[in-house]
Subunit: 278 residues, 2 copies
């Protein structure tokens, strides 16, 4: 099985390292940066490497695209004549319905595209952020569409299991985007909004404890990637923000009214739900 990984950043590099460790016999890395390819070859993350995808795509049984959301459809479009018949393509982007819609319009009939989302972000950019243990105990989501062949979905599930993922779950693209808007995108929106508050100052850390440090960790954000992710999931994210605002308003009203009972009920409900989860 020949696996071609397009993009050797933190995610692509971690897949390469994890699958090399698992014993995959032919992993080819593609990156626009020549030094990244050399480093990956020298460190033994990949068997072969190139900056020119068309040289190797015809040999690929599986193509793992670890590109930004906006690059997926254009990559398929640009290289559509070089894919091997029966090849399985898969992506790692954190939004699904918009990407699927763009790719479906241009995907050649002789390949299959299984859309997936490895849920393990990275604070480090580039191959320096790659780690052979990155996906241990992580979760992945696969969002099958009607044109997907069951055998190809299973191949991608196997790829994730081989890379170390703990669970690989199938969900609809719509469910994926709604839930990710809530559990991931909203967290990032809250964090950056907290940090951008006019209350922020040089004195802030004099007063801050663990909760502030933790909640603002993800405000150290990659604006290009997340700007795209937010825009591609605009409707689901706006709905999620509005659902959050409704709760915030309930709290505010109870506080404004000094309604001790409503305030405590609100806190008790949150505590019980949090304890149910963790």
């Amino acid at each position: 099985m020949t696996l071609v990984i397009i993009g050797l950043g933190a995610i692509g590099g971690s897949f390469a390292m994890s699958l090399m460790k698992k014993g995959y016999d032919r992993i080819i890395g593609v990156d626009i940066d020549k030094q990244t390819i050399e480093l990956a070859l020298n460190k033994g993350f990949i068997h072969e490497g190139t900056t020119l995808p068309d040289e190797v795509l015809a040999e690929a049984d599986m193509i793992l695209l670890t590109l930004y959301p906006g690059q997926i459809a254009s990559f398929v479009q640009e290289h559509r004549n070089h894919f091997k018949p029966g090849a399985v393509l898969t992506d790692v982007t954190g939004v699904k319905t918009a990407i699927i819609s763009n790719v479906e319009q241009i995907l050649p009939d002789h390949v299959d595209f299984i859309f997936a989302h490895p849920m393990r972000g990275s604070e480090k950019k580039g191959i320096a952020g790659a780690d052979e243990s990155k996906f241990i105990q992580a979760n992945a989501l696969i969002t099958p569409i009607s044109i997907n062949k069951e055998e190809n979905i299973k191949k991608v599930e196997q790829l994730y299991t081989d890379a170390g993922f703990d669970t690989v779950t199938r969900v609809t693209p719509e469910q994926h985007d709604e839930q990710i808007a809530y559990v991931s995108q909203l967290m990032h929106v809250l964090s950056v909004s907290v940090v951008n508050s006019t209350q922020a100052s040089d004195d802030t850390l004099l007063f801050a404890g663990n909760s502030f440090k933790e909640l603002t960790r993800i405000a150290d954000i990659n604006e290009s990637l997340w700007g795209e992710l937010f825009l591609y999931n605009k409707d689901a994210l706006l709905s999620s923000i509005e659902a959050f605002e409704a709760e915030l308003n309930t709290f505010k009203q109870a506080l404004q009214d000094e309604d001790d009972v409503s305030l405590k009920t609100f806190l008790i409900n949150a505590r019980n739900q949090r304890r149910d989860w963790y």
Copy 2:
């Protein structure tokens, strides 16, 4: 020096353990729960213990009140005739102006009250949450008022240093409450509002990563304590929520308008501020 600690919960118990380790020669613990006193005595957290404060207050050079915000003024009122002349009282509550205002009206002239806030919360309630290392590298704030004697402020600063605190900073009560509304109370409000969202479900954890787990940690909240803290700091907290909402609205507007430049600028500003801090 005789130190009386009123309340042997996680905070009072940790002070007792830390100061015992430091070599304080007379630490008396007071708690309404007899078993707590027995446990603290058996484990060597305190030298003496009682459920009856009036028995020991007359001997106290310093009285550390680790009570809920609403109990501070009523404790002073109830026991005002038992304090030793020249005694220094101090509290640990997370709000200051409202508590100070209540205590100032009833404080006897022959004692001094130095208001303070050890910034190290606890997820564990009661003496089971006490830890002799709890305050290592933690920060404390002291909010002097005009009637305080400098020598007494210094005594409380020494108490905190002896308990292991890394920094002890003097701020005004108003500055304290405004900043705590932002860095601590707002974080808790956001966390509980996220957890109470109508988007929360049994499936949530299928999609959730580290950021969701971290951001919702503090939703496992003590509703009695935090209900009080929020109400006592109502005005500052409402202002802080409104300042946050202004930023959230800026983000929402940029997303709604698909204004890529404004969106990225918002994220870059947050990233730069977060990196300045940590």
